[in-house]
């Protein structure tokens, strides 16, 4: 079934003449024509005999086909003592199978111009393949071999482990990485998976063995714990036959029990300072554990944040960048995950203005909490989201990422065909309610990575909260 959305009614009624006309030259800002019809593509679904779900969107504009195997297990399943396990499993997955060694896998795909990608995020792990339709059989042979028959060779594991240890050292060079990792650790502690570095720590990675990866793979890389997304120049019937053959040997098994703990709620605002001597900028992260993707308040929160810090013309960016010139860019977001993800406002701030910027971040967060959005802002945000929706159906990777969203977060199948109605429905009253509920700056952590000697006096003077000096992991220094 094809769902067709008519956006016209929405846009025609709205005028675009919000510009301030300062000109001698008369030239009016043009009004848009009726909005285009956006066709939300049909998702065709089927299931292989081993239980693997296939979700296909046909896209015949280019002679390409893209696959994305979504495993419903990411770094959120890393044991507290083994951060980095999910991502190391991904890293070594394509390094050898019963039939092909690491070099052969790479060479076979390169010789047909296909790209294989393995990665893991917090909410899931992903194996992607992109190939010209003409080479689909050769490409699928390697892709399915990597997914079904990986052998995690000891030699490749050792090499990638040593690489990972070096890249963990390199993370300590990056103020942005230090800030992100310390922020997660401070918000969630070491007792919650969201408090762990998904790349691992030196200690955890040193402790990992090849067997740990084999076990993790065996438990989670199963047809019943996965969905295979296909987008491109193929048909359901044609591709199902090929996939049935390629994945026949992949046996299902029940996934182990898993439950995500609730994070400890924050209580008081504190400022966590991490020294990076001589840094010309301070990396700032402000926030606390906030909401899961499953919240019924998703749409009002999403709209509210769009105005607060979720786009270029947001209040936070206009204030800190365009008005004050403190930063190249500042923003805020709710990281909606399977579990309760954080709210974070962030930016790289010129060292000398760090305290002033912290004050302005809090000003904008508090103002939104007190007053919500104006009707004009509401209309601005809604129109922007509605117009932007039309831009999301151009490429196979855009279509695949929409399906991935539905799969990971258990969204209804008609999520994208009802998306615009859900945007429309949000009212200023709801925005004010969710702002009051979810933007309590008196409980937020403020993490600052910068030149301590320069920034500390100003931050102390601003009296925003107790100061805790931390190491680069976000642990308090004695």
């Amino acid at each position: 079934m094809n769902r067709t959305l008519i956006l016209a009614g929405v846009l025609i009624a709205m005028s675009l003449t919000v510009g301030t006309l300062t000109a001698q030259v008369p030239a009016a800002i043009p009004k848009g024509k009726p909005a285009p019809v956006v066709k939300v593509p049909t998702i065709n679904k089927t299931k292989l005999s081993n239980g693997l779900s296939i979700w296909l969107v046909e896209h015949h504009e280019l002679p390409l086909v893209a696959f994305n195997l979504v495993i419903q297990t990411g770094a959120d399943h890393d044991p507290l003592t083994q951060p980095g396990l999910a991502s190391m499993t991904s890293d070594v997955l394509d390094e050898g199978t019963a039939r092909r060694d690491a070099i052969q896998i790479s060479d076979e795909l390169e010789s047909i111009g296909a790209n294989l990608g393995v990665s893991s995020g917090i909410d899931g792990s992903f194996v992607t393949l992109r190939t010209l339709t003409t080479h689909i059989d050769k490409a699928l042979a390697v892709y399915s071999d990597v997914i079904v028959n990986p052998t995690f060779p000891q030699k490749e594991f050792d090499r990638l482990k040593s690489q990972r240890l070096a890249s963990l050292m390199q993370q300590k060079d990056q103020p942005t990485s230090i800030a992100n990792n310390a922020f997660a650790h401070i918000l969630y502690s070491a007792n919650h998976p969201y408090g762990l570095n998904s790349s691992g720590t030196t200690t955890s990675v040193e402790g990992l063995t090849r067997d740990d990866l084999v076990k993790f793979y065996g438990a989670h890389y199963r047809p019943g714990n996965a969905v295979l997304i296909v987008v491109g120049d193929v048909t359901l019937e044609g591709i199902t036959k090929k996939l049935e053959a390629s994945f026949a040997a992949w046996a299902d098994a029940p996934a182990p029990h898993f439950s995500m703990p609730a994070p400890e709620p924050a209580t008081t605002r504190k400022i966590y300072l991490i020294d990076k001597q001589g840094a010309p900028q301070s990396e700032v992260r402000i926030g606390y554990p906030a909401l899961a993707r499953s919240t019924p308040d998703y749409f009002p929160v999403f709209l509210m944040n769009r105005m607060l810090g979720g786009q270029f013309a947001s209040r936070i960016n206009m204030n800190l960048r365009e008005k004050h010139g403190y930063t190249y860019g500042a923003n805020s977001s709710f990281s909606f995950r399977k579990g309760v993800g954080p709210f974070v406002a962030s930016g790289g701030i010129v060292t000398e203005k760090t305290d002033s910027a912290l004050v302005q971040f809090l000003y904008e967060i508090d103002l939104m909490r007190e007053k919500g959005m104006t009707d004009e802002e509401m209309s601005f945000v809604k129109k922007g989201l509605i117009g932007n929706f039309a831009l999301n159906f151009e490429t196979p990777s855009q279509l695949a990422s929409m399906m991935q969203n539905i799969i990971l977060y258990g969204l209804p199948d008609d999520y994208y065909s009802t998306y615009l109605q859900n945007i429309e429905k949000v009212t200023p009253v709801e925005v004010l309610r969710v702002a009051k509920q979810y933007l309590d700056s008196s409980r937020m952590a403020m993490v600052v990575v910068g030149d301590m000697a320069t920034i500390r006096p100003g931050i102390e003077g601003a009296m925003l909260g107790a100061i805790v000096v931390c190491n680069t992991d976000g642990d308090p220094l004695p």
Binding site: L11, L16, V18, G19, T20, L21, T22, A23, V25, A27, A28, I29, P30, G32, K33, P34, A35, P36, E61, L62, L64, I103, S106, G113, R130, L132, S162, Q163, S167, M169, Q170, K172, D173, Q174, P175, A279, P280, Q281, F312, A313, M318, R321, E322, G325, Y326, Y328, G329, G348, V350, F380, K383, G384, G387, N388, A390, L391, F393, E394, T395, P396
Partner: protein
């Protein structure tokens, strides 16, 4: 209704040679009397239009002590124009859900909007107003604010990033002081501080004339209507003076350059740089292939030797980086803990000297070409990608239809040709830049062997 967009031609020449994949976009090009070049490509497969305005000006049009202007100017183009209020450029576009940005490099400055197809007129109006009516809206206050923003951009992208200043050290080392590629696109802090309103206005008058720009539109529009809108908004602006472009002067090093810097990094990194051909030439294509033979994929020569087999490097890359009037070929290798850059350098030398002495294989070349061809198709997957490529082919080669001939320079590259150019360019004097952790200068290359 969907028209046929373009065809992808696959022709297998002989069984052992990879199929040549080319795109075949239908393109219309014309000029307004004021010299503005207009390029149109229709594609009705999604209700989206990509609009690109590319000006043939970049940091190479700047002068010594006046660096960073082209890029600072790019920022000013978002700050409103005669008929668009101060914050309104962004707001009007975000209100219709557009995706927008600007970028500056050595040779061109680029502005784009991706809009829903009903809003093409707004995009054209905004691009026209800032092309023709920017100066009346320019104020000292806006300039001061954007100067701060750009300085912050420099801190964010260069100064507060490990190894972040290496690129400008290379530019400075490889080119004489007066060469337009010798300074960084983002400019030096002291020059940004010195940027004066009059300089900025002069820059606009010279380089932001319609005859120095290309308007490229790809996507879901009606051509007759688009042409009428282009005429309505762009026709009135006067043609500017002819532009004097920086001459292409031959550059070479008379001897090897050795530089060592300490930075806040954990792992030492080696940059090995040679002069190489400019873009859009056969030699550029051959050197691009060589870069990939050396470092793209697990069996590529440098990766296999240094990262995979001996595991002395955390990462290694080799690439041909070419611009309008010159190019550089660069090998970048980051050492694993405990490895010195001299050790890495020896291994790089042995691989590079192996290519110079014995060449590469046809299989290695074919594999690279296959990957490059897949890249061509990926670049035309979006209307923005097509509008961008057409504009840059127009400005840098004079023909937007060269988007359909991207692989022409790569046809029939032979092992002998790769070997000959490796010898020609990589036997010449080079720059060896070592970036090492603070207090660890013993990890750097101390002398040239």
């Amino acid at each position: 209704m969907s028209i046929k967009l373009f065809t992808i031609v696959l022709t297998t020449l002989i069984a052992s040679i990879p199929a040549m994949t080319q795109v075949n976009l239908k393109i219309e090009k014309y000029q307004l009397p004021n010299g503005l070049t207009v390029i149109l490509h229709e594609d009705h497969s999604a209700p989206v239009v990509g609009v690109v305005v590319m000006y043939h000006v970049g940091s190479k049009n700047e002068k010594v002590k006046r660096t960073g202007f082209a890029h600072l100017f790019e920022h000013m183009m978002f700050q409103g124009s005669a008929n668009v209020g101060d914050d309104q450029h962004f707001k009007l576009l975000q209100e219709i859900g557009a995706e927008i940005n600007g970028s500056t490099n050595e040779d061109v400055t680029n502005y784009y909007e991706v809009v829903p197809s009903n809003e093409l007129e707004l995009a054209l109006f905004l691009e026209a107003d800032r092309m023709g009516n920017l100066l009346p809206a320019m104020t000292q206050e806006k300039l001061d604010n954007q100067r701060d923003v750009v300085k912050n951009e420099r801190r964010q992208r260069v100064d507060n990033v490990p190894y972040g200043t290496s690129w400008e050290k290379i530019s400075k080392g490889m080119y004489p002081e007066t060469h337009p590629y010798s300074w960084p696109v983002i400019g030096y802090m002291e020059d940004l501080s010195a940027a004066h309103m009059d300089d900025i206005k002069d820059f606009f008058r010279i380089y932001y004339a319609p005859n120095n720009a290309c308007l490229s539109i790809a996507g879901d529009f009606d051509p007759a209507e688009a042409k009428a809108l282009v005429e309505k908004y762009f026709k009135a602006f006067p043609r500017g003076k002819d532009i004097e472009r920086p001459a292409e002067v031959p550059v070479s090093l008379s001897a090897d350059i050795l530089q060592v810097y300490e930075d806040k990094v954990q792992l030492p990194r080696l940059y090995k740089v040679w002069h190489s051909p400019k873009q859009e030439t056969r030699e550029d294509a051959v050197m691009t292939v060589l870069g990939q033979v050396l470092s793209s994929g697990k069996s590529s020569r440098l990766f296999k030797s240094m990262v995979y087999d001996r595991q002395v490097a955390q990462s290694v890359s080799a690439s041909q980086s070419s611009s309008e009037i010159a190019g550089l070929f660069m090998v970048i290798a980051t050492a694993k803990p405990g490895i010195t850059l001299a050790e890495l350098n020896t291994m790089v030398d042995s691989v590079v000297n192996g290519v110079i002495a014995s060449g590469v294989t046809q299989e290695e070349i074919d594999k690279v070409i296959t990957g490059l061809e897949a890249g061509v198709i990926n670049r035309v997957a979006t209307n923005l990608g097509k509008a961008n490529s057409m504009a840059s082919y127009e400005l840098l080669t004079g023909d937007p239809a060269n988007i359909n001939r991207q692989m022409d320079h790569f046809k029939n590259i032979t092992p002998a040709e790769v070997q000959a150019l490796a010898k020609k360019y990589l036997s010449a004097p080079k720059m060896l830049l070592s970036i090492v952790p603070q207090g660890k200068s013993e990890l750097a290359i101390q002398k040239i062997q």
